[in-house]
């Protein structure tokens, strides 16, 4: 088996474990490369269909190309899609730095989504190598009733055995791609022929390496106009993936505060 096979099998195992043991279950789809690859994995795990609803936490600020790609994919894969409009900026913590407020809107959006749908489990495409606090998360990660993350007291996970139940009101964040790296996702996308939003490929010497709200996400200089070129670029680069995401960099603890409060 190749390394991609091993990552794939483990992700499928986690998806099936979630579906077997956690209900009701939903999935967040940011329309980015990670959660789109994760949707593909869900189709593999459940033999061709995605058996739970998928939601975008919609701030209304995604790039137009992202919305267009979303609509194509919903039709092509027959997804049960539920758009989740996030609360406005005025309703979130005003002490957060400006770029963090979009993230806070999504956090609030996720809370209202989970509360309304009574989800016990939310599947997400986050990865350890994206960000140092994500590196410390669990595959099945319990969240308290208010959606917050008690990162000081995470439960043990042994081999393939996870905590798959939480008290009433609380929920589990389920992370099948936690062990993947950025490069793994792209190599897998290439191998499987998974569609992705065209903004990731270079146009006029610039491309997006990570997609967020259009007002706080910036492209990088790149000539990678094909998937092959993109992979070659990532194999050589030492620039971090989220360098173009302003929300991470406003203060040392910006991301930790967001995540502790319930951000993805």
């Amino acid at each position: 088996m190749s390394d991609l096979d091993e990552l794939e099998e483990r992700a499928i195992f986690v998806l099936r474990e979630a579906y077997r043991r956690v209900a009701p279950l939903g999935m967040l789809w940011s329309i980015g490369k990670d959660s789109t690859a994760l949707l593909w994995l869900a189709r593999k795990a459940f033999l061709g269909r995605v058996p739970f609803p998928v939601s975008l936490l919609d701030t209304g600020l995604e790039f137009p190309e992202v919305y267009a790609f979303r609509d194509e994919m919903i039709a092509a894969w027959g997804l049960e899609y539920r758009n989740e409009a996030c609360p406005g900026e005025a309703e979130v913590d005003q002490t957060l730095p400006p770029a963090g407020r979009a993230a806070a809107r999504k956090t609030e959006g996720l809370k209202q989504l989970v509360r309304r749908e009574r989800w016990k489990g939310v599947i997400l495409g986050i990865r350890r190598d994206e960000q140092a606090t994500r590196a410390k998360d669990r595959v099945f990660s319990p969240r308290r009733e208010d959606g917050s993350w008690d990162f000081r007291d995470q439960p043990p996970e042994l081999w393939d055995y996870y905590r798959t139940a939480v008290p009433d009101g609380a929920h589990l964040r389920i992370h099948p791609l936690l062990h993947w790296t950025e490069l793994d996702v792209w190599r897998y996308t290439q191998r499987e022929g998974i569609p992705f939003c065209p903004l990731y490929l270079a146009r006029d010497g610039r491309r997006f390496r990570s997609l967020g709200e259009s007002n706080i996400t910036f492209p990088i200089a790149s000539e990678a106009a094909t998937l092959d070129a993109l992979i070659a670029e990532l194999e050589a680069t030492t620039a971090p993936e989220r360098a173009g995401r302003a929300m991470d960099h406003e203060s040392e603890d910006a991301f930790e505060r967001l995540r502790a409060a319930g951000y993805m």
Partner: protein, 622 residues
């Protein structure tokens, strides 16, 4: 270069420098992302400390402020040889559960030891836990060598402690490396300050670690994770744990034992022809067999054990103690089974490795325990199998985990591939020379009350008086001890005979004359006992017609059988298969028992004499 990331866990006592060592390794192999070093420099300045590399992993504010790793983290780097996934485990006693969670994914460990303090409590605890998590290969880094003036004597002393520890816990030490993580000596670059060290640097030692071996010739096991329905067809899904599954294979569904056949492998978008270990696959079985999540599909040639009770090694992580009589939910493979702690055999002392008495399972300690299953568990005794590892849940949370050491079970009969029969250094000739006769099994079979026990006692007394080494294994006697767990079902009777055959064989091997007095009604079971000691097995048919036996009815059993109090009583309601070709027949209905005994004694003295030819040809006497 291999793309597969080799997972290594960095473990050891708190403050011995694990996170700094990991960060140094990543930095010196060029794995720091742009801007990250500046970020760490700023974070360090803000706290008024010199550049703190460990902040690469210690990302939480509380970790940075208190300079301690709370939860495990992961980073990746490349050597010229391969990619690595580094798992940085916390070393504080409080966070052993995080260290354990992290180490389960690793293939090898780096144990970091402070040169000043040497092997410490959490070093020992981690060294004890790592092999239980499946991690055997280890490298020891003796860190902070600058604090002991790069003294070779100090390094040698700590290396000695590490070797002793590894030997005790079963870790395989691949290298011991002196280092200064903060400055980089001995990590990637050799540095000039320890010219006496001739062994590898840490990176060289990592590159020399062997890739994991996967056993190829193991029987197929597919723990069923779930059952999906598609167009009215039931599809069992799961990840092949061991062996290879193909369409057309015969399988057994456990625990029911029902046989079935793989009609089709199913996957999206296309099914493979074969599914080797590690493949997530769907299976359509022939007919409509009853298969549920938690079942196991297995190669019919060798099935896993179905356990009623288990001897396990367990590490406990829960805040609450777990005492004898307490209930927990066991997850093993994909199966959930209720278990009750039957007894706690020992705690493994972290400091000494000794087994000591324990009342209950306490947090962060390791125990040997017997678990009684409230429903059948399906297990293997090899830790490489996911059926050999389990987690114990208390309520919603994982309270501990461990490895299956043995199945405590009447039905478990599969020998482990790890068990190899050892040849004794004392051979049969030397034993025969000592006792003056050869070891043998004299197997007396016949109807109840045919006179087997009486003849056995007579034979034993006569041989013993002649100076022979002999012992009687009587059916009733072994049932009170060795076979006290067996009932009188067909299966249990067969097991009763099998065990007596095995034990008699051991007596014969030791040079003794084992005399067995057992109804043993089935020819096949007696043949199996014969196969244990080829050439030294003497089947003696103690013959007496049923009327005679009923008239004797020494134990009142015939009467009770006729009264319906005993089901399946041999000779009344269950058949007896007389031997087709016994070595000796003695008829107690037609001849006085003394004559029969004398004939039997003479026979045994002849065939077990030192100069006797091996048994085999029937020597029927009437």
């Amino acid at each position: 270069m291999s793309e597969r990331a080799f997972p290594v866990v960095f473990a050891g006592h708190v403050d011995h420098g694990k996170s700094t060592l990991v960060a140094r390794l990543v930095l010196d192999t060029g794995g720091f992302p742009d801007g990250r070093l500046d970020e760490l420099r700023r974070a360090s300045e803000r706290r008024g400390v010199p550049l703190e590399l460990s902040f690469l992993l210690d990302a939480f504010q509380v970790e940075r402020d208190q300079a301690v790793t709370i939860d495990a983290s992961r980073v990746w780097f490349r050597s010229p040889q391969r990619r690595y996934e580094v798992i940085d485990a916390p070393g504080h006693r409080e966070f052993v559960r995080h260290a354990v969670s992290a180490a389960g994914d690793a293939r090898a460990a780096v144990l970091v030891v402070d040169a000043r303090e040497g092997v410490s409590e959490q070093t020992r605890r981690h060294a004890l836990l790592l092999p239980l998590l499946g991690v055997r290969d280890a490298i020891v880094v003796v860190n902070k060598m600058d604090a002991v003036d790069f003294a070779r004597e100090r390094f040698d002393a700590v290396a000695g402690e590490a070797r002793t520890l590894a030997q005790r816990t079963g870790l395989e030490l691949r290298a011991i490396v002196p280092a200064v993580a903060r400055d980089g000596d001995g990590v990637v670059a050799r540095g000039a300050r320890m010219p006496w060290h001739e062994g590898p640097t840490l990176l060289e030692a990592l590159d020399a670690l062997p890739e994991a071996r996967r056993d190829r010739d193991v029987p197929m096991r597919l723990p069923v994770q779930d059952v999906y329905r598609r167009d009215e067809v039931r599809i069992a899904v799961g990840t092949v744990d061991e062996g290879v599954l193909r369409a057309g294979d015969d399988v057994v569904i456990l625990p029911s034992g029902e046989g079935s056949h793989v009609e089709e492998l199913i996957a999206f978008p296309a099914a493979p022809e074969r599914a080797p270990a590690g493949t997530a696959i769907g299976v359509r079985l022939r007919g409509v067999p009853f298969v549920r999540p938690g079942d196991v599909l297995a190669d019919p040639a060798a099935v896993p054990a179905i356990a009623e009770a288990l001897d396990v090694t367990v590490f406990w992580l829960g805040e609450e103690r777990l005492a004898a009589g307490d209930f927990a939910q066991m997850r093993c493979g994909t199966r959930d089974t209720g278990v009750v702690v039957e007894r706690i055999d020992a705690r493994i002392d972290v400091a000494t490795g000794e087994r000591v008495a324990a009342e209950a399972l306490e947090r962060n300690e390791v125990y040997e325990v017997r678990l009684r299953c409230t429903e059948p568990a399906i297990v293997e005794t090899r830790p490489a199998s996911s059926l050999g590892r389990f987690a114990l849940y208390r309520g919603d949370a994982i309270g501990g985990g461990g490895l299956v050491r043995a199945v405590v079970n009447r039905r478990a009969r599969r020998s482990s591939p790890n068990v190899a029969a050892q040849r004794s250094g004392v051979d049969a000739e030397r034993r025969a020379a000592r006792w003056g006769h050869r070891g043998a099994v004299v197997w007396l079979t016949g109807l109840p009350s045919a006179g087997k026990s009486t003849l056995a006692r007579e034979l034993e007394a006569a041989l013993f008086a002649a100076g022979w080494n002999t012992y009687v294994l009587d059916g009733d006697t072994v049932r009170t001890g060795l076979n006290g767990d067996l009932g009188f079902s067909a299966e249990d009777r067969r097991e009763n005979v099998r065990r007596v055959g095995e034990v008699a064989g051991l007596f014969a091997d030791s040079g003794a004359i084992a005399i067995v007095a057992l109804v043993s009604p089935n020819a096949a079971d007696r043949d199996a006992a014969r196969a244990v000691v080829p050439g030294r097995f003497h089947e003696v048919y103690v013959r007496a017609d049923r009327a005679t036996c009923e008239a004797r009815d020494a134990k009142g059993l015939y009467r009770r059988a006729h009264a319906g109090e005993i089901a399946d009583f041999t000779g009344v309601t269950a058949p007896y298969e007389p031997p087709a070709a016994p070595e000796l027949v003695v008829d107690t209905a037609r001849r006085p028992v003394e004559d029969c005994a004398a004939e039997l004694v003479a026979y045994v003295r002849r065939v077990a004499a030192n100069d006797a030819a091996p048994a085999g040809a029937p020597a029927v006497s009437r």
